[in-house]
């Protein structure tokens, strides 16, 4: 047991008035401190390649076709069951492409598993974070809303490989 002896307050301290004035001056000075508020829509959040935003599909160099071959690995990896893929065959050199590729953004948890699962560099996490609409149906994104030129996602792709290279360094067992 510890007996704490409280300090006897002097008369001035018992008045509490000096402390009150001290507190008032403190809060008055706070009024002239720099603001910490971010004016959000005008001042967006700073994002960089580490930002794990909504997943986006990359286009091939021709800027027309998706890199996706609709293998379904991302669909399988998705823990939130947000991805739906229907594939079909094409006449091109890459023989498959998705006919339907939908990500339900209301279910997506931005975990990035799809990005890791993809064998064809077709899906990457972008830095787009804003998500709002007036109906649920509009928030199920289809290919038109998801496709992005590869250059737009280049930062993320480079970062992704930089991280993955750590795993690819030869270890003693290989």
């Amino acid at each position: 047991m510890v007996i704490i002896k409280r300090k006897e307050l002097s008369f001035i301290e018992k008045l509490y008035l000096p402390q009150i004035f001290q507190a008032l001056s403190h809060s008055f000075r706070a009024m002239f401190q720099p603001r910490i508020t971010r004016q959000y829509p005008e001042e967006p959040l700073p994002t960089n390649e580490v930002t794990r935003g909504q997943p986006r599909l990359t286009l091939l160099e021709d800027g027309e076709h998706l890199a996706c071959v609709s293998c379904g690995l991302c669909e399988a990896a998705c823990p939130a069951y947000a991805i739906t893929i229907d594939g079909h065959e094409t006449e091109r050199f890459i023989e498959r492409e998705p006919e339907r590729f939908e990500i339900d953004m209301l279910r997506c948890i931005l975990c990035g598993f799809c990005e890791e699962a993809c064998p064809k560099d077709a899906i990457f996490m972008s830095d787009e974070l804003e998500l709002a609409d007036f109906s649920r149906a509009a928030l199920v994104y289809d290919i038109d809303k998801l496709k992005r030129p590869r250059e737009e996602l280049q930062g993320r792709i480079d970062y992704f490989y930089q991280v993955n290279d750590r795993w690819r360094t030869p270890s003693s067992t290989s």
Partner: protein
């Protein structure tokens, strides 16, 4: 210009001003709280958020009006009115400036000139408590009831200290007329009652503390102590009824700020310039009033809330004895010719 028209102009000016100040206070409260907390505050509606009160008003009008089951219908509807009207009545006798010439008539810038305006203000202002009590009781909610009970106990307790500190001013000025009290403080700054040593500063301090308790503001806002009582006496209120409670609170704050100015800071008097033009006097009055309104907000966002027993102990065991002693000392000094 006929005399009734002059009266009408004064009424519209002063009441319009009061409502505007009350609306501006609802914005200022949020702005000041934001500034003290390193934030920006409302800035989306109009430039610097100046139209926020209008937006709030529109929102209040379109909200659903709820009357809780088991509530006493009559009293539930009556309470917001009872809470908003008294402070609006009390502002009628506040002398904002000296003599003004409106349309050829030389008149005073206050709605009514009573010989006993001090008593009138205190008597009418004291009625604001009924809105709080009845609102709390008629809601049929334990939180509201507790809020109303606390508010009434608190207001009755602190009204004593408030009256006794006003009494010091009345004794010093020898009149109950607010205009006379203001005129009595004309001249150098030392003529202000706050500088009437040694009793003036004490009375001023007691008065300011008591006004905080009377208007149920922090650090004495037990009527709506959020962590314990949800919203206190207005927990069950919504829509314009709720807005009326707020209007009443801000009007009461404005009246109290005016009274502090009149009683202790010489009203519209500018030091060493007794016959200043009325517009300057009005500006002076409003800036003093504005300071006290700011003080309400400043203190609210600085000090933590008291505990209820601490509040009662402060009111009855500290402030009341000091206030009574203060009155005695004033009387004794006056009879000894100290203030001559």
């Amino acid at each position: 210009m006929p005399l009734p028209l002059v009266w009408l102009i004064k009424v519209v000016l002063i009441y319009g001003g009061l409502i505007t100040v009350a609306a501006a206070m609802s914005l200022a409260e949020r702005k000041v709280s934001a500034w003290i907390q390193w934030r920006v505050g409302p800035n989306r509606v109009g430039p610097w958020g100046l139209l926020q009160p209008v937006a709030d008003g529109v929102k209040f009008i379109f909200k659903e009006e709820l009357v809780p089951e088991g509530a006493n219908q009559t009293l539930f509807r009556l309470a917001p009115i009872l809470s908003a009207v008294p402070p609006m009545l009390a502002v009628a006798v506040i002398p904002f400036a000296g003599e003004v010439s409106i349309g050829g008539h030389v008149t005073t810038l206050s709605i009514a000139d009573l010989d006993i305006s001090t008593l009138y203000v205190v008597a009418i202002g004291g009625l604001g408590i009924y809105g709080v009590i009845l609102g709390g009781w008629s809601s049929n909610s334990k939180y509201s009831l507790l809020g109303g009970l606390r508010a009434s106990a608190q207001m009755v307790s602190y009204e004593l200290s408030l009256l006794l500190s006003i009494l010091v001013v009345v004794v010093l000025s020898g009149t109950l007329d607010l205009r006379q009290i203001v005129n009595d403080q004309a001249g150098p700054i030392f003529a202000w009652n706050i500088f009437a040593l040694p009793v003036g500063p004490i009375a001023f301090l007691l008065f300011v503390i008591a006004t905080f308790a009377e208007t149920n503001r922090h650090p004495f806002d037990f009527a709506e102590c959020e962590p314990e009582l949800v919203g206190g006496f207005h927990t069950e209120y919504s829509s314009m009824k709720f807005a009326l409670f707020f209007l009443g609170e801000y009007c009461a704050m404005t009246v109290m700020a005016c009274l502090t100015t009149v009683f202790f800071l010489g009203g519209g008097n500018i030091p060493w310039w007794p016959d200043a033009p009325w517009l300057l006097e009005l500006t002076c009055f409003l800036s003093k009033m504005g300071f006290f309104l700011f003080l309400f907000l400043w203190v609210r966002w600085t000090l933590p809330r008291f505990r209820f027993d601490q509040l009662m102990a402060l009111g009855w065991k500290v402030m009341l004895p000091i206030a009574i002693a203060n009155v005695f000392v004033t009387g004794a000094l006056l009879s000894l010719g100290w203030f001559a």
